[in-house]
């Protein structure tokens, strides 16, 4: 066997992974099959630096309607915000802001919310609105830093840098490191460096659950550190009720939001 043939065989044996660039990997991540619709109960446990807990329970459902990711959420807990609802249209077009409305049940009124800035905390948690939205591939440049393993699973470690200041202002992040599983092309960990000096967010998917053929992140941790010190933590648990269910597009409208919980 010649050297050239041995090299070719070696390359074939170790698979296509080495040949992949960071852009290839992130494109595969973006192409991962996700349910066309999903209904779930979301619980967030918020812990401050002293360990004081707050709990947010949300009933949520999302679906892709005419190429737009639509989601509808209602607060279950705490009691003082029970029934407060959110309707979001998340557009693939990076240049188009999401549409968002909020239902104030005490007033029986749904009102539009300006949503261009996604750096704000989602319900007081360590997740920002940007974390809850789909990340647009074209807004970041990627560099493959190295390969590693997480809990015995091989991962790629990839650095993401925003392409311009607008993306930084929209997301609040100046740099991210993501860990992508080589077996499923899923992001399993992330380190996000915030524009605010000294702040870093650590994301860790602590549980994936196989549901109807999809591997879904059902338990995610997010930890905020400032100057190396943990200032706040959030554990988000997703209790998935149904995936790929038949939905009526009218279930993701302003009219449905106004009907309430």
């Amino acid at each position: 066997m010649t050297l050239r043939l041995r090299t070719l065989c070696t390359l074939l044996l170790i698979g296509p992974t080495l040949a992949m660039t960071a852009d290839d990997i992130m494109t595969r991540v973006d192409q991962n099959e996700t349910p066309t619709s999903q209904r779930a109960d979301m619980t967030m446990i918020l812990l401050d630096s002293r360990g004081n807990q707050r709990v947010r329970s949300i009933q949520s459902q999302r679906a892709e309607v005419d190429g737009v990711e639509r989601s509808l959420m209602f607060f279950i807990e705490p009691a003082d915000v029970r029934g407060t609802g959110f309707l979001m249209f998340d557009y693939e077009d990076a240049g188009r802001d999401d549409d968002q409305w909020m239902l104030l049940p005490s007033l029986g009124k749904a009102k539009r919310i300006a949503s261009s800035d996604k750096t704000g905390s989602f319900m007081g948690s360590d997740f920002s609105y940007a974390d809850m939205s789909q990340r647009n591939l074209s807004e970041w440049t990627y560099t493959l830093l190295k390969e590693d393993s997480v809990n015995g699973v091989d991962v790629w470690v990839i650095e993401s840098i925003p392409v311009n200041q607008d993306v930084i202002e929209k997301t609040g992040y100046v740099r991210s490191i993501v860990y992508v599983r080589q077996d499923t092309y899923q992001v399993t960990r992330g380190i996000s460096y915030l524009e605010k000096s000294g702040e870093v967010k650590l994301m860790n998917v602590s549980e994936f659950t196989e549901i109807d053929g999809y591997s879904l992140a059902t338990e995610t941790q997010m930890v905020t550190q400032k100057n190396g010190k943990t200032v706040h933590r959030t554990l988000m648990k997703l209790d998935v009720q149904a995936v790929d269910f038949e939905f009526d597009p009218d279930d993701f409208t302003l009219n449905r939001l106004e009907q309430g919980l």
Partner: protein, 464 residues
């Protein structure tokens, strides 16, 4: 039931991250030893939800001149209210549900300061009170919903000074103690809503006539209307429950990209009385006194739109109201009641940015049409109000600071009230609130001479 069990003992280890050293930051599970007991499933699967709120609230007048018995009574601590607010949601099945919320309260100030000159009306109103804030039965079928009971329906797209949102009377009993956008008083309302294509339809009836809640007779904000009417053998009372006295409304609305639009039509009895004045004892000893109280039926057609551009939501509304009434004059003396039309408009914006906070600014202007020809006794041709609301949350939305300003007339010559507030969520159960309200007196009757009535409002809330 699904439970998350971790132990509280562990605080996260301090982990330092540098640009090139991030491999070890996940070495420890940050939640490994945190004990959390959360009922994740029950909250959304059970068909009913009962919650309670206990509240202790005090009102303190900061700068009373104490020049009258009434001012003496309302100087310093003038209210110590304890309240219980239960709320029940019950989904009887997939399409039928009921909601109920009430408030039972007592004000201990009448026992703590029994010798002050409290008016009977104030004691009746505050010593014990029960209020049904919501009691509705709802039926939902596909995209249509029917709801009847004590509730509020909000029309219009402006937050504070909507010209469309006038279905309900407003609580003006102690200005500034209720947020500007939450002063509507719930009333028995039936509403059906649904969609026709891309257009949302809402129509219904407010069954009971409602008056604005004015300051109680004998309090420091008393406008004197009650005693003036008392002397004439008249009083301010809601019109009785009858078909002729009901309000009706219809609303069409929709969304076109970043634009929300709405058209509203409302017909209802006025929430403010028209007091007809008459002359008694004609001659040298003639006097002008109230002779009747009217609540004319007013008809409003209104349009509203909002447009979102980046972090700003622009809002505008316009309305034409017919059927408003006022008294005309004849040689300077009260004459017949005449009807007139009023054109109103609101402009405003809502700026929302996580770092800077939220700023809402709205200006409302209204004008009586053909004013010069009407020769009205006591009505201004134009009126203006403007409002500013600023809020900013800190510490993961546990601390919220807010400021509000409501001014009458463009130059605020009608008076203004300005408030600074603080809400702090100690945890999911306990909350403390404080608000300082500064009144600046002016031509508006409710703020006439109000400069020395500034209030501090403080409250503690426990929810379970």
């Amino acid at each position: 039931m699904k439970r998350i069990c971790m132990s509280l003992a562990l605080m996260l280890p301090l982990v330092s991250i540098s640009a090139d050293e991030f491999d070890d930051v996940f070495a420890d599970d940050p939640f490994a030893d945190v004990e959390v007991e959360v009922d994740t499933a029950t909250a959304s699967t059970r068909s009913w939800h009962l919650s309670h709120e206990l509240q202790l609230q005090t009102l303190i007048n900061l700068n009373s001149e104490r020049s009258t018995d009434i001012e003496q009574a309302y100087a310093g601590v003038s209210s110590v209210e304890a309240a219980w607010q239960p709320a029940l949601d019950w989904d009887m099945n997939d399409w039928l549900s009921t909601r109920a919320k009430g408030k039972l309260a007592t004000d201990a100030i009448f026992w703590l300061r029994p010798d002050e000159a409290w008016s009977d009306a104030d004691v009746d109103q505050r010593q014990w009170q029960f209020e049904t804030q919501e009691l509705t039965l709802q039926a939902r079928r596909d995209q249509w919903q029917f709801s009847s009971g004590i509730q509020t329906v909000t029309l219009g797209l402006a937050d504070a000074l909507s010209v469309s949102n006038n279905l309900y009377g407003r609580d003006l009993s102690l200005p500034g103690t209720v947020d500007i956008d939450e002063t509507q008083t719930p009333a028995w309302t039936t509403v059906i809503s649904g969609t026709l294509g891309n257009v949302r339809l809402k129509a219904g009836s407010v069954h009971r006539h409602q008056l604005n809640t004015l300051p109680i007779e004998g309090t420091d904000f008393d406008t004197g209307i009650d005693s003036m009417l008392d002397n004439a053998g008249l009083s301010l009372t809601n019109e009785p429950l009858a078909l002729d006295n009901m309000g009706v409304f219809a609303s069409l609305s929709g969304v076109v990209g970043p634009l929300d639009w709405q058209f509203n039509a409302i017909s209802q009895l006025s929430h403010s009385p028209v007091i007809e004045m008459g002359i008694i004892n004609p001659g040298p000893s003639a006097s002008v006194v109230p002779v009747a109280v009217h609540y004319p039926r007013e008809n409003t057609v209104a349009g509203a739109a909002s447009l979102v551009t980046g972090p700003v939501l622009w809002k505008t509304e316009a309305a034409l109201t017919t059927g408003q009434q006022a008294q005309s004059t004849d040689s300077g003396m009260p004459s017949d009641l005449v009807s007139f039309q009023r054109l109103s408009g609101t402009l405003g914006f809502d700026f929302d940015q996580p770092t800077l906070g939220r700023l809402v600014a709205e200006l409302q202007i209204s004008r009586i049409l053909d004013y010069d020809a009407l020769d009205l006794l006591n009505s201004e041709e134009s009126e203006a109000q403007w409002a500013l609301m600023l809020s900013r949350s800190f510490w993961r939305e546990t601390l919220t600071l807010n400021a509000q300003l409501l001014a009458f007339d463009l130059d605020a010559s009608g008076g203004r009230l300005q408030a600074l507030g603080l809400d702090y969520d100690i945890n999911d159960h306990w909350q403390v609130r404080a608000r300082v309200i500064d009144y600046v007196g002016g031509d508006a009757s409710i703020l006439s001479g109000a400069d020395d009535r500034d209030r501090l409002m403080a409250s503690v809330h426990y929810r379970f």
